[in-house]
Symmetry: C2
Subunit: 359 residues, 2 copies
């Protein structure tokens, strides 16, 4: 190994060296059905020659001929966002032994880039597409290009039940439900909330999960203890500002459920500065379990949404769809939903007064 040069070795060379025709070589190396008549000795001779010469089939020629690129397109909205990279990891793992290579395009959260990414992938004749949905906007109509080209497409992170596209989503409501259930179990009753911005699709179901538990447990949600992120997105400064607002309202609370981890970080920072200890005075719960949540000060209790698994599910769906398409079966979009899990760390504890009401 190591000293094969630019594989100028073609199938013809292999044929020459092993004394058979290129057809035979091709059939042997792909063990095509028609190769069943070729005796073992010949097969071995061919394989031997191929290995000796360090033959690597030219993928361009192969793709040109067979019209299969052995390539999937992956569209992420921001490669520096751990949300995307964790999903990517799952995709990679699922694809690793499949012969498919993912090619990655990054929207960088810029609308203008979306169109170009789609074109790029179509140009490269990808056999399928996995798109990680931007939490803010999603140009579904752009993805329709793929649907039209009959390229199987799955969107991760956005519910699309009646679309021609497949989808993988997390069950947001189940996540917040579990979080509130846990706090309630610890004994918290005065609980504050920072809701997500209306612009994000995840906001509504996360809030819904909270309301559901509250309703089931007979817990009253105090409107004075609810604030909402305005504008497009959560951010550290916004989190700080909303936490301050909660403090200014001078309504006591022993726990705080935030829309996401970043907001939770901001809240903890703000509470600490205001002299409230976390978790001794106030418990804080986030959502997402971003990397770093476990290293925060204190380590954050939050809802883990199995991003890797979402990625691998997406890849599986695509593989299935491609397979279906190839055997001329009807391709029906698939929809999967993964259940998140509450990860308890050290930003939550029993409320100050009652030390440990049992769940």
């Amino acid at each position: 190994m190591g000293l094969r040069k630019t594989s100028a070795v073609t199938i013809r060379d292999v044929a020459g060296k092993s004394g058979v025709s290129v057809t035979t070589v091709s059939m042997v190396l792909n063990d095509a059905p028609l190769a069943r008549h070729i005796p073992l000795t010949t097969r071995n001779r061919v394989k031997r020659a191929a290995k000796d010469l360090g033959y690597r089939p030219n993928l361009f020629a192969r793709s040109l001929r067979s019209n299969r690129s052995q390539t999937l397109g992956v569209v992420v909205f921001d490669i520096t966002d751990p949300y995307c990279t964790q999903i990517l990891r799952g995709i990679e793992d699922s694809l690793y032994h499949s012969g498919y290579l993912p090619i990655l395009t990054d929207i960088q959260n810029k609308r203008a880039r979306f169109q170009r990414c789609v074109e790029l992938l179509l140009e490269r004749r990808v056999e399928g597409v996995i798109a990680i949905a931007n939490p803010l906007y999603l140009e579904t109509h752009l993805l329709q290009d793929f649907a039209h080209s009959e390229v199987p497409t799955v969107v991760i992170g956005r519910q699309l039940s009646e679309s021609t596209l497949s989808s993988v989503v997390v069950d947001n409501a189940a996540g917040t439900f579990a979080a509130l259930e846990y706090l309630y179990g610890l004994g918290h009753r005065k609980i504050a909330f920072i809701r997500g911005p209306k612009a994000l699709v995840d906001s509504a179901p996360r809030w819904k999960g909270l309301c559901e538990f509250a309703w089931q447990a007979g817990l009253k949600i105090d409107p004075k203890l609810v604030v909402e992120i305005q504008g497009g997105n959560s951010s550290y400064p916004v989190g700080v500002q909303l936490t301050q607002e909660l403090l200014h309202r001078e309504r006591e609370f022993t726990a705080l459920v935030t829309f996401d981890d970043l907001t939770a970080f901001a809240a903890i920072g703000c509470l600490t500065k205001a002299g409230r200890r976390v978790p001794e005075d106030v418990s804080v719960v986030g959502f997402d379990d971003i990397p770093g949540a476990g290293f925060y000060n204190p380590p954050l209790t939050t809802v883990h949404q199995h991003l890797e698994m979402q990625g691998s599910i997406g890849a599986e769906i695509i593989r299935d769809l491609i397979h279906a398409r190839h055997s001329n079966e009807a391709i029906k979009p698939l929809h999967r939903r993964v259940v998140p899990r509450l990860v308890v760390r050290q930003s939550t504890a029993a409320p100050p007064g009652a030390a440990g009401i049992p769940a």
Copy 2:
């Protein structure tokens, strides 16, 4: 836009529609040098037809013929590591308008995958490779495969001055030098250090920068205030443990310089728990400026190493090398070094006693 189907449109169709031969179409669309004799009217007719039909050249055919894949390989050691993704972002940006598409392979920090990634890229006939060096190990000999195949290769994050590979690195010593200079300027004299593990190449130069400044400023480094990360890598728990050890030694210190941000986070967590306030009692400085450093509690003063820029420089080098290779110039490996910048946030302040000795 939107409803072009699987581009079964070939150059032949365009030729048919515009009433010329495929040769003419090809020449016009690539504005090849030989197209100079073709009158404007014909050119426009061809271009018009191409656009009307929604013609997209088949890249497989093109690559097969011209032996150019229009593709670069990028090898990262861990796609979920922000170090990699920031560099990636720089690479993308630099490549965005170049016609080259990066295809990404992820080692996942597993030695075994390296070989396979290299093979994958060679198979896809990439025209160049950008490898982001694993901080721990780097199978340079595996990359030699690329050198042998005359595929231009640049390594980001590892000094390789006399190699046949090109390289981009950060000037580690300059970074730590600046950090210590800053603390010294604030008035700190009793300064503790957490050194990086010997196994990491970055450890030595970062320590060297500290020693250099200390020597220049006449600052004595107290061996009792120096600890070193053992084993392979920095981690949160290790950081906590080493900080505890520093505290146990009962040698007073007003500032702490850590090997990297993760260790700094751990140190801050540990100090806080031990009742030392950051930065009022102890200032802490990290290295890397990982995302989240600005959101930590408190926001971390650290050394920013321009990862995006490193990425784009790498991409530029590759483009230059490919170009050189193409015009049959000799390809000499290039080596670039970027100077980091100290980012002052809120984990540093003047030492407790002397409130603000001027630099």
